[in-house]
Subunit: 189 residues, 4 copies
Amino acid sequence: MTERRDKRQQILAATLRLIVTNGLERTPMSAVGRAAGVGMGTIYHYFPSKEELINVLYRELKAQSHSAMLQGYRADAPVRERFFCIWRNIFHLYRDKQDLYRFLEQYSFSPMITPESKVYGDSTWNEAHRVVEDGLTQQILKPLPVKLLLRIAGAPLFNLVQGHIAGEIVLDEALIEEAVTACWDAIKR
Amino acid sequence: MTERRDKRQQILAATLRLIVTNGLERTPMSAVGRAAGVGMGTIYHYFPSKEELINVLYRELKAQSHSAMLQGYRADAPVRERFFCIWRNIFHLYRDKQDLYRFLEQYSFSPMITPESKVYGDSTWNEAHRVVEDGLTQQILKPLPVKLLLRIAGAPLFNLVQGHIAGEIVLDEALIEEAVTACWDAIKR
Amino acid sequence: MTERRDKRQQILAATLRLIVTNGLERTPMSAVGRAAGVGMGTIYHYFPSKEELINVLYRELKAQSHSAMLQGYRADAPVRERFFCIWRNIFHLYRDKQDLYRFLEQYSFSPMITPESKVYGDSTWNEAHRVVEDGLTQQILKPLPVKLLLRIAGAPLFNLVQGHIAGEIVLDEALIEEAVTACWDAIKR
Amino acid sequence: MTERRDKRQQILAATLRLIVTNGLERTPMSAVGRAAGVGMGTIYHYFPSKEELINVLYRELKAQSHSAMLQGYRADAPVRERFFCIWRNIFHLYRDKQDLYRFLEQYSFSPMITPESKVYGDSTWNEAHRVVEDGLTQQILKPLPVKLLLRIAGAPLFNLVQGHIAGEIVLDEALIEEAVTACWDAIKR
DNA sequence: AATGAATGAGCTTTCATTCAT
DNA sequence: CATGAATGAAAGCTCATTCAT
């Protein structure tokens, strides 16, 4: 039983590693098997196809983002504090788990990710969504569509980590604080 | 010959169309030929390989962004006005040429785009870079690294158009104005 | 598994047969697969590329020549007898395994045969080399460089089999005896 | 008119050069055109196909061999002298025109050379044939089939030049003399 | 006569998936 | 459960040949 989960996890971990390194189409299933230390056919016991393997990986990473996002989160705190908590968490997550970040960055919009997975992925943002709604209700934020506010404030999360990976900037605690503040400033009244 | 340029342009146009529709790896060269109305081998008269074709396309689209970006731009205008001009232009461009937008969105970080092409693309931002520098000098903007400011204010350009394409929001003139304002608010003092 | 070696051998045999019949460049890998009774992809389990397949074949045939060459060979026999033994063996081998002969004849100097394979092949001549050296030491042979003597005496091995295949001459035992004598006469004092 | 012959010759020369360097199948007609300084289509004014081009080249080189072979040849000289003259000439020719040598070595038995060309090529040896016949009549040579004698004595012509090109031996005048003697010894009574 | 852009059949090679062991 | 040899469709690319100019 733990064996089973182990193999499954090994396969997922190997897939993530290989894909961010070599790209989706340059990662044959045989290479995944080799890197995971299992036979190629074994992968097909856990995942019916490469596409499904990728989609499962996508959803697991999204779930990981989701729980990381809510570390130390208190639903009863003021809007601004909740916003800062989530944004900080995401910055830390992406900065520290670059494989996760790179995968989501590159494949979130790939045709290989099915609409179902995308919908699932969107739900990751449920809590952020709620924060923004509350901010609107309390008239703390600009009176614009929620989706718009979320995108405006959320976009830099990806973009800045990219700058970090590229070596353009160094996302230390101080800079993350400035960045979150900027995100907040963008949408606050 | 205009003929010559025609064929080249037909190939590039067909490539763009097919790739944003089906994805890079599901766009065989034979399909490009068919869609462009030329023989498959003809593509190889104009581009030495699929990789180079993609990179040329990338660079041409970047160049297109660059010139669109500076429509109606006056270098002697105040910083805020220059910022608004560029940001508005990009929003319009991406919103109205969704193929261009989608391509850059999906493949800017693909391993198929060479580092040379990426560097080429970066120069597109020269003018935006200058605007931010001027803003810093005049103490209009937050005292943070230029690269950071650019990424914070630039990230929504992509992200919002995505929302527009997904049908989540409608990027009309009013909303673009709000969005540019939000971008500005994120980095202004 | 004997299975494994079987498939490998089937592929090599089919390759040899097809190449001597149709030529290297008119032998697609698909035809090799068909003739060997295996799928085309299977060939690539055993050989990483067409080039390597050809080189392996080349080396195996060279090794076959090598062992055939020393049938009934006695290293303590007189130089002349050792020379006759080796030369007779080669004549017989080439005459009776024309595919082997034709392959070596046509592709020994093809750019597809790598220098490494060529070096490997050369060692086949070690024993002949030794015979000639002994002949020089014993002053039975003309006082010329070993390499020169070997080439002078060795050249007809290929050329006569060619005449046999072309139907110009019939390499029966009597004629082989004459031919070996002629080779010997060419280099003896 | 001379123009015409010039272009034709340029094409043949370029073909020879490219083919011995890169191999027959890695020498596209476009490369021939480029190297010959003519358009690709022009080649087809002079030669109906690549195959015919190669065959014409083969026959021209054979003709060149033929005339080189008879330099200073006197049909009324003694057999031994005539033999030495022809053999010496061939050695010199091959040694000094290595492109010619390499081409004949590699492609004489290629399936691309038509039977007609091969027959033509064989006629190159007419005079050598006559010498051997005379040698037989005068009972100077071993009583064996002419074809056999020719091959035994002729084989080293190719093989030794190969050693020269490979750097194993240096075919200077002295060594050529020894080699011709060895060829003669092989077939003389 | 001379050109070289255009063509597409055919090549080598890859890889998701199956299945006998 | 686990394996990995076997498969063959499909990819990128080459090049002999044609033909409009």
